[in-house]
């Protein structure tokens, strides 16, 4: 509040109204400040309103009012009024400065707090992002790297590299499970491939075998027939059709072995009974004598999955065996290596020579030769020609164990393989010693008679 009206002149109503209007504005702002102030600041404002400066100002204002409105304003000079009003103004200014300083400090704290919050938010966010990215990359690599390795191993296994190591098996997580499963898969696949290779070899051996074989499952259905079996059926188709009318060698795969029912009567039941395997029987189909062998086929777990039927045409062999038996019964037979080493001899030969079998096996043919006949070139050529596959027959002079002469009619037959090479010599002989002695006696008698007649 100013000091208008002082200076020597008295207060008027206009002057007083001017003072009170301005004071009212100030009071309004003081009230506003009080309403917005903190508790401490309100105390400061209250202290101002009840302070000495305010009291002095009110006192002087009351005096001025009294003077204006017919009262008295004793002892109030312009200097006094100026001093009191200025003191109040200065006091108000101090309060304002205090309040402003409070606001400044509060705002500064808020700004500092905001800066700190922003910095902390940034630091937390940046750190979280960096750490999260690092963890994400590490975690992702921790998953993707072993998966890539396992994928590479799977590729190698697919290429047939069953010796390759499977990594990550020690991991306790799903990747470890996958690795352990992959190793098991690798082992099983390796075994399967190996089994398949073996099966291929066996299949090739089966297909290329000289034995006639067919494969049937446990239901008796023919699954496979090898070339030798096909040849056997085709070469003897007329004979087979006598027993199995309508047999078609081109339609046997998939047919049931029942088509051979009559001939396989003995073998039919064993096809489904693994406990009876292997099984062997001899069957007759027309003029054919077939040696039938049935063996089981089992998988890796030991389950019976089928049978192999081996058809062995024994017709010729039986015929040959019969002939050999007849020969063995009537002739002296001995078998040699191509160099003359004795392998075997039959009873007739042993009886003719007087030896036991164990006395001659492993020894040379020369043991039967007369003294002096084995040293010459002729004896060597004899065995050389036999080894070359040339048959020799005729009458031969040999020596028994007793030292007596042994005369035989013999045939030395080289035993030839498929290529024509000799692998042995079979000698078939007839003892003609008695007739040879009679002949020699007759010749000697005839010569004596001739000499007598000439001398007469």
């Amino acid at each position: 509040m100013g000091a208008k009206g002082f200076g020597g002149v008295g207060f008027t109503a206009d002057v007083y109204d001017g003072f009170t209007r301005l004071g009212g504005v100030q009071q309004g702002y003081i009230a506003l400040a009080r309403n917005n102030a903190s508790i401490d600041d309100r105390k400061l404002i209250s202290a101002f309103e009840t302070g000495r400066e305010a009291a002095d100002h009110k006192n002087f204002a009351d005096r001025a009012k009294a003077r204006v409105y017919k009262g008295t304003a004793t002892n109030v000079t312009g200097a006094d009024w100026f001093r009191v009003a200025t003191a109040r103004i200065d006091r108000m200014r101090q309060i304002e400065e205090g309040l402003a300083q409070t606001v400044r400090a509060s705002a500064a704290r808020a700004a500092a707090g905001s800066s700190t919050a922003a910095l902390i938010s940034f630091a937390v966010a940046f750190g979280s992002v960096v750490i999260s990215i690092a963890i994400a990359i590490i975690a992702a690599k921790n998953v993707s790297t072993p998966l890539s390795s396992l994928n590479g191993v799977m590729g190698k296994v697919a290429e047939g590299q069953f010796g390759i190591d499977v990594p990550s098996q020690s991991r306790p997580d799903e990747i470890g499970d996958m690795a352990r499963t992959l190793e098991k898969f690798r082992d099983e696949l390796g075994k399967a491939v190996e089994a398949n290779e073996i099966a291929l070899f066996k299949g090739a051996a089966f297909d290329g075998s000289a034995s006639a074989m067919m494969m049937v499952d446990t239901n008796g259905v023919i699954k496979f027939i090898n070339c030798s079996a096909t040849d056997l059926f085709q070469e003897n188709i007329d004979i087979f059709r006598e027993g199995f009318p309508g047999l078609n060698t081109d339609q046997m795969i998939g047919a049931n072995a029942d088509i051979f029912h009559e001939s396989l009567r003995g073998a039919q039941s064993v096809l489904t009974e693994a406990t009876r395997l292997p099984f062997h029987t001899m069957i007759n189909i027309g003029s054919l004598r077939i040696d039938m062998n049935v063996s089981g086929v089992f998988d890796r777990d030991g389950a019976h999955v089928g049978c192999i039927l081996e058809w062995k045409d024994m017709t010729q062999a039986i015929h040959n065996a019969s002939a050999l038996d007849a020969l063995d019964r009537s002739q002296a037979v001995i078998e040699f290596e191509t160099d003359g080493t004795i392998i075997h001899a039959n009873q007739n030969f042993l009886a003719a020579t007087g030896y036991a079998l164990e006395e001659i096996v492993g020894k040379h043919h020369s043991m039967f030769m007369p003294t002096g006949e084995t040293d010459g070139q002729a004896y060597k050529d004899f065995w050389r020609q036999l080894a070359a596959g040339q048959r020799t027959d005729g009458k031969f002079h040999r020596v028994k164990k007793s030292g007596d002469d042994l005369w035989i009619n013999a045939t030395y037959n080289p035993l030839l393989d498929k290529d024509g090479g000799a692998y042995g010599v079979l000698k078939i002989a007839t003892d003609i010693t008695a007739s040879e002695r009679e002949k020699q006696t007759f010749d000697k008698d005839r010569q004596n008679a001739t000499r007598i007649l000439i001398s007469l």
Binding site: M1, G2, A3, K4, G5, F6, G7, G8, V9, D14, V15, G18, L22, V25, Y29, G78, A79, W81, F82, A85, T86, I89, D90, M92, R93, E96, E97, A100, V103, R104, A107, A108, A110, A111, G113, S114, S115, A117, A118, S121, F122, V124, A125, S128, V129, S132, I133, I135, A136, I137, A139, A140, K141, V143, S144, L147
Partner: protein
């Protein structure tokens, strides 16, 4: 898409959310700091204005005393109080507040202050006219101080919104 990329994508989504949330927090904190600075600036401006108000009140009283005493009293006091006003006015000028349009009528009175002082010194102005000159200047300054506080408070509220 490879597994590593999928995993990184899964991790990226919450990271993006975290980043956006943090960015919003940082923005809010910076706005609050700016608002606090606005408050300080407003308070400084208001304090500077009210300081000038107080000085002008004192100069008004001294001028009234000088005019009322026909120049016999308050001469030295008036000179000293005018210096206080000039110092307070310089603070306002240095703070750039004299260019603030909110000062309005006060600016014109500042420009006429020297002329009014000359008329007071020469006793060629009625005490009521001089008092009215200072009072209207003071009213304009008070209005300006209040508007600055209100404006900065509004800016703070707007910044926090």
């Amino acid at each position: 898409m490879r597994i590593i990329h999928r995993l990184l994508l899964i991790a990226a989504i919450p990271l993006i959310v975290l980043t956006l949330t943090s960015a919003n927090s940082i923005r809010t904190a910076l706005v609050e700091r700016k608002a606090a600075n606005h408050v300080v600036a407003g308070v400084d401006a208001a304090v500077s204005a009210t300081a000038l108000v107080h000085r002008l009140q004192v100069e008004r009283g001294a001028s009234a005393g000088f005019i009322g005493s026909k120049g016999r009293n308050f001469g030295d006091e008036l000179t000293r109080r005018r210096q206080d006003v000039d110092a307070a006015l310089a603070v306002l000028r240095d703070a750039g507040l004299l260019e603030d349009p909110a000062l309005g009528e006060a600016t014109r009175h500042f420009n006429s202050l020297d002329a009014m002082r000359t008329r007071v010194d020469q006793l060629r102005v009625a005490d009521s006219e001089a008092a009215e000159f200072y009072t209207s200047t003071i009213d304009a300054l008070i209005t300006f101080a209040r508007s600055r506080i209100d404006r900065d408070a509004s800016a703070e509220l707007a910044g926090q919104a």
